[in-house]
């Protein structure tokens, strides 16, 4: 039975019109149609990743409910591939199904105030205590922490080792009383992210992912997937910001000047180049393990978003001087198109910082793709506790 037949069988057994949303999603998971490239029993069929599109199209045509993927993006895009690759069988069985259905929302506890680009310098400590660990520290830039049930967490388990080698990777229960989530307001006015304070948080050793001391390696899988998740979706022509700007251009002849026209044409061109580049990347990705090309897409996307959002404000002229709303809210997803130009302009500034800054991504490309030599480093072999701060 091919995936299309399986999808039709699912629909025949669970008519979306008459089935509870969550029941339908669980049935879809159990039928292996959640992410077909995952193994059987874990929501997949071990099928090529490309066949997912067949399933999705058939389900969309039948108006079946989806799992609101933008809201649970961190779980789907980052936690799941990491658990799949490094998790124990028990961890996979426990976490993946409710993660995929959205019953359990995931967030990410990686960055710290003193460890951003240099994530491996992180100072949050996890100390062995019987059959578990006790965690203390401060994390930052955590989206959806206030709604999350679980977090993927990296913490230092051995400060005597060099910084990349003393880190372990955990699943942290966000309902633990030692977890405090505080909104972190951004320049847009929103608090899309949070600061998370961890005070004596207990994590059972069964919630460790990968071996003790191998957390840095495990985190690479998370981070590579983050970059792909950000830059890797298929988009139609004029999908995204360029469509918004082009529509304004078409609707508002009085705003047009040759200077803006030349920049618009360049932006349209660049958007199309990035779109075709992404498409070629997807055609190349036969395995599920993304490489540094994801970094390249994210880099290109950030630059384009900043270029276009800056252009949009200038195009609007007097309207660009306004702002829709500075009220502090705590949104669960970023809504680039549902707000005004000024918001897009400000929010796009984060595109080149969050999830690996553009500077770090250029290093990654230069070293991993082009094979250029690393810069002289003095911090790689020193015990973490002896690093200058």
């Amino acid at each position: 039975m091919d995936v299309l037949e399986r999808t039709r069988a699912l629909l025949a057994e669970h008519d979306p019109a008459g089935t509870d949303r969550l029941d339908f999603l669980r049935a879809r998971f159990d039928a292996g149609l959640a992410w077909v490239h995952f193994p059987p029993g874990l929501g997949g069929l071990g099928a090529p990743r490309s066949e997912q599109a067949v399933v999705d199209a058939e389900l969309a045509a039948a108006r079946a409910p989806d799992n609101d993927p933008r809201r649970i993006g961190i779980g789907l895009g980052m936690a799941a591939p990491t658990i799949l690759r490094y998790g124990t069988e028990e961890q996979k069985q426990r976490f993946l199904r409710p993660l995929w259905t959205g019953e359990e929302v995931w967030c990410q506890l990686f960055s710290e105030p003193g460890a951003g680009s240099d994530l491996a310098a992180l100072g949050t400590r996890a100390v062995r205590d019987g059959d578990g660990w006790v965690v203390d520290g401060q994390k930052v830039w955590t989206s959806i922490a206030h709604a999350a049930r679980w977090a993927i967490l990296i913490a230092r388990t051995d400060p005597d080792l060099p910084k990349h080698r003393g880190i372990s990777y955990f699943v942290c229960d966000m309902t633990d009383p030692g977890v405090e989530v505080r909104p972190l307001r951004q320049l847009t006015g929103e608090a899309e992210f949070n600061e998370v304070f961890l005070t004596g948080v207990r994590i059972p050793d069964t919630h460790r992912i990968g071996a003790v001391g191998e957390g840095w390696q495990v985190a690479q899988t998370t981070l590579n997937n983050e970059r792909v998740a950000i830059g890797g979706q298929a988009t139609p022509r004029e999908g995204g910001l360029i469509g918004v700007v082009a529509d304004t251009w078409r609707a508002r002849p009085e705003l047009r000047t040759h200077e803006l026209h030349q920049r618009l044409l360049k932006g349209w061109l660049d958007a199309e180049v990035i779109r075709q580049t992404g498409e070629r990347l997807r055609q190349q990705l036969t395995s599920g393990q993304p490489g540094p090309e994801g970094a390249a897409m994210k880099l290109a996307f950030a630059r384009l978003a900043q270029e276009l959002s800056g252009l949009e404000v200038e195009l609007l002229g007097e309207e660009g001087l306004g702002y829709d709303d500075w009220t502090m809210t705590r949104p669960e997803v970023v809504d680039f198109t549902g707000r005004e130009a000024g918001y897009r302009y400000l929010r796009a500034k984060g595109n080149s910082i969050e999830g690996g800054s553009s500077e770090i991504l250029r290093n990654v490309i230069a070293e991993r793709v082009l094979g250029l030599p690393a810069e002289p480093r003095t911090d790689k072999d020193l015990p973490w506790k002896e690093l200058p701060r």
Partner: protein, 358 residues
Amino acid sequence: MSDLLYSEIEEELRSSVRDLLTDHCPPTAILARCEGPEPYDLPLWRSLAVGLGVAGLQVPETLGGAGASVREVAVVLEELGRSVAPVPYFGSSVLGLTALLACEDRELLPAVAAGELTATLAVPFSTAPGGPLPAVSVGPGGTLTGRITSVADALPADVLLVPAGGGLYAVEAATVTARTSLDLTRQLADVTLDATPARQLASHDGPVRQALLTGAGLLASEQLGLAEWCLTTTVGYLKERRQFGRQVGSFQALKHRLADLWLETVGGRAVARYAADALATGSPDTAIAVAVAQAHCGALAVRAAEECVQLHGGIGMTWEHPAHLYLKRAKADQLALGTPGHHRNTLAALADLPVPLP
């Protein structure tokens, strides 16, 4: 060529303005104020305008001013840009006084020059020097009717200078409504006139055009000061911040970007000074000087503020860090009084670089 340096007197003026702003206008105070009911800091404005006496620097002493020139005004603007201080200096002392100085009617001038009265020019802040003016009609008895959107510094103004019927009018009793603005430190407002009493100051558009041209030229100095704050603050942060066991400022890619930004800033200082000097001396090269200064500095300030946010990393994205105040001011200033693209395009005619035929 004109004098592109700063005189000793100008440097002294800069020091006293900077001292006042350092003491009374820290970023925390601006942040605390900008979402409240009083987005302008009127006590600070009073200290600056009346206390330091900079409200009417370019106004002759006989008319109640300091008898200096717009070169000195430009120095004040550099410092106000450096501190993004929420005071109506630009509206009152730049746009307002320039217009009033170009009117034969002198009644309002001494009080505005002394900082006792705050004025502004009632046009959308995005209006370019040669751009269209809002439609305000003059009714019987010289009353005015119309709506003018996005006016800078109208909220704290005592008197609005309103272009209408080809001339200029003074209005004291308009309805002024705040607008949610991209720039948190210079909030815009809409002005509604409904058969509102007004007094004619000029019967031609000379004063308005002069105010817009002078405003565009001097705004470059504000943008320069803003860019310098961004550069200095970023350099300072990168010397402090350590990642990968090194000061982040020792990474060559960042050093090269900051070197390029410094170079643009050095250029900004030259062209802002040249424009201020041209405006002060009535040079025949003024139109080119203003276009060059605004085209360069409008882009410079945005780039400096964007680099400041980016190179501060996550912390630069937070509401608590002042970088965003500068980014918002820079982006709004880029639209104000003509975009850099607009000013570059004016060079087509001014420098005889003809537009292609269609």
